[in-house]
Symmetry: C2
Subunit: 252 residues, 2 copies
DNA sequence: TGGTCTAGCCTGTATATACAACTGACGGGA
DNA sequence: TCCCGTCAGTTGTATATACAGGCTAGACCA
């Protein structure tokens, strides 16, 4: 078996995907049971099981013990945007990433930072503010607060070399994260740092990351509305490739 | 076996996740091979294989035929935002969705619509414009173009009852989709329709959906920056989860 | 010394078998 | 008529076995 051939569990998956894509099977329709697939396709039950189990993980079908397998509602299929590290993104476009540190100090938490990090107002926090640029054009102002207990050496890093996000994610591997995206008018200081003309809105990504079950870092990422966008591409696993990526819009 | 107990493949997965989370295993470190897991945990090789295979799909580890299994770089783990149907979103918040149709006609494609739908300038397109409201407060202006060939009956629908997005996704189950998010200033007409004060920016989601390998619909969704945000939460499936992880209510 | 070849490990897949638990329908008994 | 038990069908899990094919280190030979 195997060889250059397509694995049989994959053939079974694609058989069913075709029936769904073509409309022969519609949402809530019953999908052939494992034993029916054994009879019709000649694979073993374990192979049929693997095909249906993977289709479940991929959102195509839903399974109910004792009842059967059914085509899932397509609206559940995720339409997704990816929030990526700005430096990676710039490098992947083949451009030069550079960063300028504006602020780097320890300060007392204000209301919003205390809320975001679930700590007390006035608690000591590390605070950095830096501007990331693509080919010398400012693209993101990053304002970040970090719990000192999580990263005691945070203020001794050179963030023009390693971004705060890269430094923090290296400290603790598996993190929980929350993102919120908004459109808002930047204040004058931010607009100036990003070289934004008056009246231009900003796309703001707020990101909180968790470690050991509690939030340890909170960042607000401001981008010029005219020069930055988030984008994502979703393709069902029949059509090849397509990565999602954020891109700088072409003009300006 | 089995019984009320946690399945063994899951126990093996969590064993490895713990070693990664605790830092005992770091990115690029070698993970025990299937046969080593057979020896140390007493499960069969197929069970060990399932555990490692699922960890691969979940992004924890990477496997190389003939070499071994290794802890993955965490930065690859996607931080994701979901773009959801506005009506579903409002209903899930327990509020009332309503829609008002502003425009509903067939017209010739202009430059941008022709580009987006990969058709010719001047080609006939269906065009609708409607405002979605949450508890009577306008929250989204939807401007949508559709290829007539894909949905000939499109203009005969009552979009105050079924949203265009729901109608189209029912027409063709498995779609490819592309999203782009921007911040921009709305023109006066849009600002008025959404009841936005002067100077307030809009969060704009552009969405193209494909069927049969070509784009069939293009929508621009304008939201008041002060009243709308996109958010997403990512939690790795190891963290005391199972409640939060199995509750993919976000995705449904 | 240098090149080649093989043994042993690794993952990937496929099958047959087995048992557990759940569901729904059918039929028999009170 | 209504309740309940049985039974067939379904998914979920677990194991033992088997073979294919990639990779690497070390043995072996020239």
């Amino acid at each position: 078996m195997t060889a250059a051939a397509i694995p049989r569990y994959r053939q079974v998956k694609e058989l069913i995907i075709r029936q769904i894509s073509s409309g022969k099977l519609k949402p809530h329709d019953r999908v052939p049971s494992e034993n029916e697939l054994v009879d019709t396709t000649g694979v073993s039950r374990m192979t049929a099981n693997r095909a249906l189990r993977e289709l479940t993980n991929e959102g195509y079908v839903e399974r109910v013990v004792g009842v059967g397998t059914f085509v899932a509602d397509f609206k559940a299929a995720s339409h997704v945007l990816e929030v990526r590290n700005i430096a990676d993104e710039i490098l992947q476009r083949g451009n030069v990433h550079s960063a300028v540190v504006l602020t780097m100090l320890q300060q007392a938490a204000d209301q919003s930072a205390a809320d975001a990090l679930q700590t007390d107002i006035g608690a000591a926090l590390f605070h950095v503010r830096l501007v990331h640029a693509e080919d010398r054009i400012p693209l993101q102002l990053e304002e970040r607060f970090v719990l000192p207990a999580f990263a005691p050496d945070f203020l001794r890093q050179d963030f023009t070399v390693v971004t705060p996000s890269a430094y923090l994610s290296a400290k603790s591997p598996l993190q929980e994260a929350e993102h919120v995206v908004r459109a808002m008018m930047p204040d004058e200081e931010i607009a100036a740092a990003l070289n934004m003309p008056p009246g231009e809105p900003a796309l703001v990504v707020s990101r909180r990351t968790w470690a050991h079950g509690r939030p340890v870092s909170f960042a607000r990422l401001f981008h010029p509305g005219s020069r930055f966008q988030l984008s994502g591409h979703y393709a069902p696993p029949g059509t090849e490739d397509m990565q999602s990526a954020s891109q700088r819009s072409q003009e300006q």
